[in-house]
């Protein structure tokens, strides 16, 4: 098997929190050498918030940091001090890519804007992730992930029917911006290889989230409407919901039916063949129209059965079904385990903990988690020596 695709690419990673580190995580998965610059004065927020291994706080014990910084190196320095600045400049000269996610304009004020860095490394690729982009009236606004969910329409379109707009459980705009950034960096590497040119890329986290709202935006463009909140229902398919399963308030099973064949199979598995030809449910349009009655019938079947038993019975008959998985369910999921998605490498402080690994496989080039997240505190000298090969 050949070396990973980004073998030999060095990324100087000024990022912190989630969106930025998630972008360089993708690059590390693809084989790039990622060097995270960590502030000596202000540790990354993800090192300072729970969960901590066995609930004992410590900068190297934080699950959040250790998940999204797998496979990277780290250097701790004060980049605002003259000595720190000199080290940063030496590292830039040795790097192919610089990524940062400070608020708009901040990195330029530190003296590390694209023009300054380009003078050191003319074919540098630099990408900035900010909440709103480097230009425009909101460029200096504060842009965490959750507010981006509100601004990009996810809150107004997600939620239960009849209830107000809703949050969506995770700060989705952050990792989404990270994957967009990784796409653009790899495209820029291809461009540099073909032309010798580097480039500066200004990525807006809000705009990246709006790309994923394309279905809602186009609905408004075509019909003038904003999509309504419909819970786990679908605009066309029915039945299509997450139904109560046997057990506590965390046990459910999602069932969705996209064709007549699947509808008949569902009725048969429920032991209610006659339902398939019930006048209320004979076509998809009728089922959609009468979905409240349909949901009630299905719930009376699912609510007395184990969620996995229902899943297996329906999947055997060709009906899409799956339980909502908790973090524990994910860690114990036989499918994910067998595929090798879950990774537990030996970490000096927390030992072997299960992390989410690489969500793809490549047959010809090895892409994998190569090492656990770095410990805080590595001195720049040792890393520089390693890079310079002295």
């Amino acid at each position: 098997m050949a070396s990973p695709p980004l073998d030999g690419v060095r990324v100087l990673d000024f990022t912190w929190a989630w969106a930025g580190p998630f972008s360089t995580l993708q690059l590390a998965h693809l084989g790039a050498e990622v060097i995270r610059l960590e502030s000596a004065k202000r540790p990354c927020v993800t090192r300072a918030i729970p969960p901590f291994a066995d609930n004992q706080p410590g900068p190297n014990r934080a699950g959040y940091f250790n998940q999204y910084n797998q496979g990277k190196r780290s250097v701790t320095l004060d980049i605002r001090s003259p000595a720190g600045g000199e080290i940063v400049k030496r590292l830039v000269k040795l790097s192919d890519v610089v990524v940062e996610n400070f608020a708009g304009g901040v990195i330029a004020r530190m003296g590390f804007g694209y023009d300054a860095l380009c003078a050191l490394k003319p074919d540098l690729i630099m990408l900035s992730i900010s909440g709103y982009g480097q230009t425009g009236p909101y460029s200096s606004y504060i842009g965490y992930g959750p507010p981006a969910g509100a601004l990009s329409g996810f809150f107004s379109t997600s939620g239960y029917p009849g209830l107000p707009p809703s949050e969506i459980g995770i700060s989705y705009a952050d990792p989404n911006a990270g994957v967009w950034a990784a796409n653009l960096i790899v495209a820029a590497l291809l461009h540099r290889e073909a032309t010798g040119e580097g480039q500066y890329i200004d990525l807006s986290q809000w705009e990246a989230a709006l790309m994923m709202m394309g279905e809602g935006l186009i609905e408004h463009a075509m019909t003038g409407r904003t999509p309504e909140r419909i819970g786990d229902h679908d605009p066309q398919m029915a039945p299509h919901n997450t139904y109560k399963a046997l057990g506590d308030q965390e046990k459910w099973v999602g069932i969705s039916v996209g064709s007549e064949e699947e509808w008949r199979a569902l009725c048969e598995v429920m032991g209610q063949k006659g339902l398939a030809d019930d006048a209320r449910f004979r076509t998809m349009a009728l089922r959609k129209q009468n979905e409240a009655a349909l949901d009630e019938i299905i719930t009376s079947w699912t609510s007395t059965r184990d969620r996995w038993e229902t899943t297996r019975a329906l999947q055997r008959a060709g009906v899409a079904a799956y339980p909502p998985l908790s973090n524990k369910d994910l860690a114990e999921n036989e499918h994910l385990r067998e595929r090798g998605f879950l990774v537990a490498l030996e970490h000096a402080e927390v030992g072997k903990r299960i992390h989410a690994g690489v969500p793809w496989t490549m047959s010809g080039t090895r892409t994998k988690v190569r090492k656990p997240a770095p410990l805080r505190g590595a001195a720049p000298d040792s890393v520089l020596r390693a890079l310079l090969g002295d």
Partner: protein, 394 residues
């Protein structure tokens, strides 16, 4: 303005990508590559991509040439029709692949053999081809052949279990987020890995087979939730509490506004913004953890104040004071937003059937290239003559 390269630059411009899709996933991967500048050829069955029949349609008039989601996903692509169930058409498809750098598709593993899309066969026959196959659960493992729609994967990835978060309604199920997020996210990972495989191909001359799992793409982005279990033995849920406050959606005079204060100085600025009310000095609001623990009381007190504000005013006035407010936008407000206008984020499209409308361009600005609409989404079989002539005879 001088003619620039596409956003992905000159290298992406030279790429030929074949896309075969049954859903949103491959189409989204193809869209990212096409918008970056690649020459993407969308192969549809003779009856057309199922998305052509899904809508939403222009003024609700069903028409396979004017389905909104299809028009959004397929800008900048050319389109041909081939029936991969027929051996002659599979031959023609093979000829298209000979000239291509990569094939991106989202056909389920168990349906690939009959369509000639088994990854191993394709990469053996076309040594330089990159084959990127997206599926709900990946190509291997006990659930690889499971049927799935977006909801299925939203449950399987662990996202729905956490959503909406801090829910006061344990009787309501885990909530799927709007749209086709798992399909799109896997598409975005598919374009990433395809581009990375092109970097390898430049060095080795060889293609390879890539598989992307929708379930895994999103299971890898659950914030710190997964590690709550593997580090601390804690199951997180849609019904849990927020650890810090304020963190909620406020009702305003004409809609809703979200607010979160992560830093103490943001809270101090908020108290001043609200006119230094007496209640803000109470012990139960002394720091972000205390405010999180007493969120109900805080919500009630802030609601009264927020109810007199208009959403967009509260958002902007709050942000001017460095307080993270965010308007809970509906689609119309997004299209009308002055910041997005100033960045030229939306581009105008004109379509013979769907009329004039605006679509998002790309989320980036670069000095090397820029987003451009080179062509609208293809009509069914629009480029058959141009792209298939001579291929069938080989």
């Amino acid at each position: 303005m001088a003619q620039q390269s596409p956003a992905g630059g000159k290298a992406v411009q030279g790429l030929r990508i074949i896309e075969y899709g049954e859903g949103v996933s491959a189409a989204f991967a193809g869209k990212v590559l096409a918008d970056l500048g690649a020459d993407v050829v969308k192969v549809e069955p003779p009856e057309g991509d199922p998305l052509r029949r899904r809508g939403p349609f222009h003024r609700d008039q069903a028409n396979p040439e004017a389905s909104g989601v299809f028009l959004f996903l397929n800008v900048n692509k050319r389109g041909v029709t081939l029936d991969l169930r027929r051996s002659e058409d599979r031959e023609t498809f093979g000829a298209l692949l000979e000239d291509a750098d990569a094939l991106v598709h989202d056909v389920a593993p168990k349906r690939r053999a009959e369509l000639g899309l088994a990854s191993g066969d394709l990469t053996r026959r076309h040594q330089a081809l990159i084959v990127t196959a997206i599926s709900p659960f990946g190509d291997t493992g006990p659930h690889a052949s499971y049927e799935a729609h977006e909801l299925t994967v939203a449950n399987a990835s662990g996202w729905a279990f956490l959503s909406p978060g801090a829910s006061p309604h344990p009787e309501l199920p885990p909530l799927k987020a709007f749209g086709s997020q798992h399909q799109m996210q896997a598409g975005l990972h598919a374009s990433l890995t395809t581009l990375a495989a092109l970097v390898s191909k430049r060095k080795t001359g060889k293609g390879q087979a890539i598989e992307v799992s929708q379930q895994e793409c999103v299971a890898a982005m659950l914030e710190m939730n997964f590690m709550h279990w593997t580090y601390a033995g804690r199951e997180t849920s849609r019904c849990g509490n927020r650890l810090l406050g304020p963190w909620f959606i406020l009702d305003c005079a004409d809609g809703q506004c979200f607010v979160v204060c992560v830093e103490e100085h943001q809270w101090q600025a908020l108290v001043e913004f609200m006119g230094n009310p007496e209640w803000a000095k109470e012990e139960i609001f002394k720091d972000r953890i205390a405010r999180g623990a007493n969120m109900d009381a805080l919500y009630a007190l802030m609601s009264e104040w927020a109810s007199t504000w208009k959403v967009q005013d509260l958002f902007r006035e709050g942000q001017k004071r460095r307080i993270p407010f965010a308007a809970v936008n509906r689609m119309g407000e997004i299209y009308a937003d002055e910041h997005l206008k100033s960045r030229g984020f939306f581009v105008e499209m004109t379509h013979p059937i769907a009329g004039s409308y605006r679509i998002p361009s790309m989320p980036l600005r670069s000095r090397v290239g820029s987003y451009a609409v080179r062509r609208p989404a293809p009509r069914l079989g629009e480029h058959n003559a141009e792209l298939l002539a001579g291929k069938a005879a080989r």
